[in-house]
Amino acid sequence: MAEHSGGGRGESAGDKAREEFFSEAQEIVDGLSRDLLALDDVSRRGGSDAELVNDVFRAVHTLKGLSGLFGAAMMSGLSHELENLLDDLRLGRIELTPQVLDLLFQSVELYGRILAAAKGDAPEPAAEVKSLLAALGQVAQQKGGTAGSVVAQYELDPGLLGVLTEYEEHRLRTNLQAGLSLYRMRVQFQLATIDSALDELKAKTRPHGEIITFLPTGEGGDAESVELEILVASRAPIATLRGAITGPNIAIEEVRRRDAAPAMDSIRPPRRASEMPPQVSIAPPAATGAGTEPPPGVMSDEPRPRTSIPPAPPAVPAASITGFGIPGAPSGMPSGVAAPPAPQAREQGKADNRELTLRSVSQTVRVDIRKLDHLMNIVGELAIVRGAVAKLQERVRSQPHLREVMSDLQRVQRAFERHLAQMQNGILEVRMVPLGQVFDKLSRIVRQLSREHDKPVNLVITGAETEIDKLIVEELSDPLMHMMRNAVDHGIEERDERMRVGKPPVGTIALNAFQKGNHVVIEVEDDGKGMDPALIVAAAIRRGIVSEAEAREMGAKEVLGLVFEPGFTTKDEATALSGRGVGMDVVKTNIAGLGGVVDITSEVGIGTKMTITLPITLAIISVLVVEVAGRTFCMPLASVEEAIVFDEGDVRTFEGREVMTQRGATLPIARLAKLFQLDGVRPGVWINEEAKTPKPPEVRPGAKPKSYVVIATVAERRVGFVVDKLVGQQDIVIKALGKSLKRVRGFAGATELGDQRVGLVLDAAALIHEVLSTQENRFALAAIEPPRQLPRAELGSRGDGEEGLL
């Protein structure tokens, strides 16, 4: 298996190269997927985009080269066949039908699986590759002939037609068949700036039409400049083009059909007469031939470099396609061989390009995320050093004769702090990747699901550029994928049903991402049938998740929350799409593992919206350090709304829940000491006598000093946590608790606080959920025997148990 897909388990040096190969191949496959989606989009709207086809072609070509290099036979074979297909597509020998697109999408899927197999994560998809190859072969059989008569109707120089590459000819034909007009631009370029000037010209032209080819006219130039003739196909009238593409040495004219009346536009005088050589702008090309059109002979004498780069693209190494393509070529295809302006310019252009290519390659570095974690840890250690220096500073301050040293020390310390903060931010920034990475995968899945299920779905993505920690992105793809499945399977109705209720036949799923303070919010919203509370309750009762009595007491939000319970499903039979045992409870657990929360809102008949709220990064967080019963805890500042002085007199009790009024609103409160059963010294409670940590509780019952309420908010849910003391704010590097503590709930991790002391970081989302759900359940289910409602009993078994909360 390894032999097919990656050269076996190579040793040390080979491993690194293989790693590189994997990540590079993965990147290309991701890009491929993106381009295909765009292509799908364009073709569904009835258009086509040659540039995109080219991009796809290039990606596959690069993959072929890469996989050949690494002896990944399966991938290389697949790439080879795909390349042929794409070449045919590019040259118009076959059409971009939905079937062809399906094959392309399948290939992306297979690339992913081949890569996974090569890494040893999955079995090789040998059978699937084989059947895809067969399907590709069939498509290749269907290619039609190339009828090219339409070109002949235009007043184009046969010499020019003779030098067009197959691809250029195809583009020309396609555009003319589509009824676009053909324009000829003559542009004078300074050799020194030709690269940038050409790019600029291309950018200006792009919105209006497609550049077919570039040819040097062989005249009008001198030692410093060269004149190029540029063929452009466009739907726009010539006036628009002239308005859009302006410049000192640009002339535009229309290439007319033979025996057709001249188009109105070309008769009108040019708007900027001074810029237009009059004979070019008005007269038909044939008439101006003497002045501007080089005779065919001149044309063919032109040193066309067609021989230097073979026109058959597959033979050209990818680097030369992207890197050394002459800038004039449409989208840098090998057809870019179209005419370098002059020998010295070509040399210069080539040299510049090569330099540029090398530079752009070396500017990106792939880094193992673990290395960044390591750097982050060092930053954390440095933060501890900073704390120690600050303590030294305190000691120096008390020595009057060291005043001078003191001020120096202060300055150095400030500089150190500033740079440390910059470094921290810098590393964090490096870890950030756009959510688009995972969104692309999702669009592929939605497309596949909607086809498989025959439910046309339009996926609308916004905020793909929103950045989030790389680790979070990795962990997000599964939950989001599941939510997409649910949206297509359970949310969007069948086409007939949608028509019946007067909705557009094509369903819409919106995937929105945006940053909100220190959090990133991701919304998945569908315009489907919504979630019917009655159905949810019925399903939950059927599955024994709630009793009927429990269900009767539930509010609307709680009912929706039932879908997060393990084992919940409304369908009795699992469909191919969802309901295969991985439920929303897994989604919730995964998101909670990232320190996030999921919320649902839904309206029957209108649609469902799921909202995920996540921290931007897991690595470094700002926390509020608090003390409870002598123990130190860290509350992530991102979840802290404010901290206020606690007054016992403000507390009201409603059937067991403690609440207080804050700014006119009800705030449920939880005493951390009770929640964690820290009150007093329990038998067996551990106190480190030697290190005196945790310190013995300063708070003695009876003489109750001031305490505080830290108001924590996660996704609209608020709870006030009562603590003894606010120590201060601090940036910490959060570390995960060991496996042996993974069942302990309420903590997101731990961190070193200096003095070698470890502080536990509270999991605000989990604690808020725990407090609210415990209270709600207790409230609602006081009379019923609720074994499910006491999961904490096992965790808190050594204390006085659940009663501690009351």
């Binding site: 840890n377 954390g380 250690e381 123990r631 130190t632 964690f676 059963q677 820290l678 038998p683 067996g684 409670v685 551990w686 106190i687 480190n688 006598e689 030697e690 290190a691 940590t693 945790p694 570390k735 995960a736 608790l737 060991g738 496996k739 042996s740 503590l741 302990v744 709930r745 309420g746 903590f747 991790g749 731990a750 070193e752 003095d755 070698q756 002391r757 470890v758 502080g759 536990l760 904490r792 965790l795 808190g796 050594r798």
Partner: protein
């Protein structure tokens, strides 16, 4: 169903090990209360004097808490409570924390005192069933080094497998 049966496979007998290690294996002996235990020296990463340990609320009673060993978070287990030898916690100047690699995680084992390293030959090891037929899987034998000491030999992996 005996839940211990499949696990037995995990803890190979100490005699087998001695066999594999050229008839002689090194064990670190330590005290829990008055009882002497020993684990293979190869599983021990480091022996630490007590560092500040932070209690983890809601954790299993056998867990002392977490500490930081050169920037690395380590869970500390109180072996005495884990083995139900005591219900109370104690720590003094002689206490040591054995840092071990167990089931993919570094764990600190709080012990009352570290005694010494013993080299045990095959002949010095008795199989666990001399203590009775139903021994927990982490008990892999009884070491009787020359000199009269008696050590309960432990394999830690089964302790941290759940």
């Amino acid at each position: 169903m005996n839940p211990l049966a499949p696990r037995r496979i995990e803890g190979r007998s100490a005699m087998q090990r001695a066999d594999e290690l050229g008839k002689r294996a090194e064990y670190l002996a330590f005290l829990l209360g008055t009882e002497a235990y020993a684990i293979e020296i190869g599983t021990i990463v480091e022996i630490l004097k007590p560092l500040p340990i932070t209690e983890v609320p809601r954790a299993d009673p056998g867990v002392v808490g977490v500490m930081s060993v050169r920037g690395r978070l380590v869970t500390v287990i109180d072996l005495k409570r884990r083995f139900r030898l005591t219900r109370t916690f104690s720590m003094n100047k002689k206490s040591r924390i054995l840092l071990v690699d167990a089931a993919g995680e570094q764990i600190g084992l709080l012990v009352d005192e570290v005694v010494q390293v013993y080299r045990l030959a095959e002949a010095d090891i008795e199989p666990p069933h001399v203590l009775g037929s139903e021994q927990p899987p982490h008990v892999v034998g009884i070491g009787r080094p020359p000199g009269g000491a008696v050590l309960l030999l432990l394999d830690l992996t089964p302790l941290f497998l759940d």
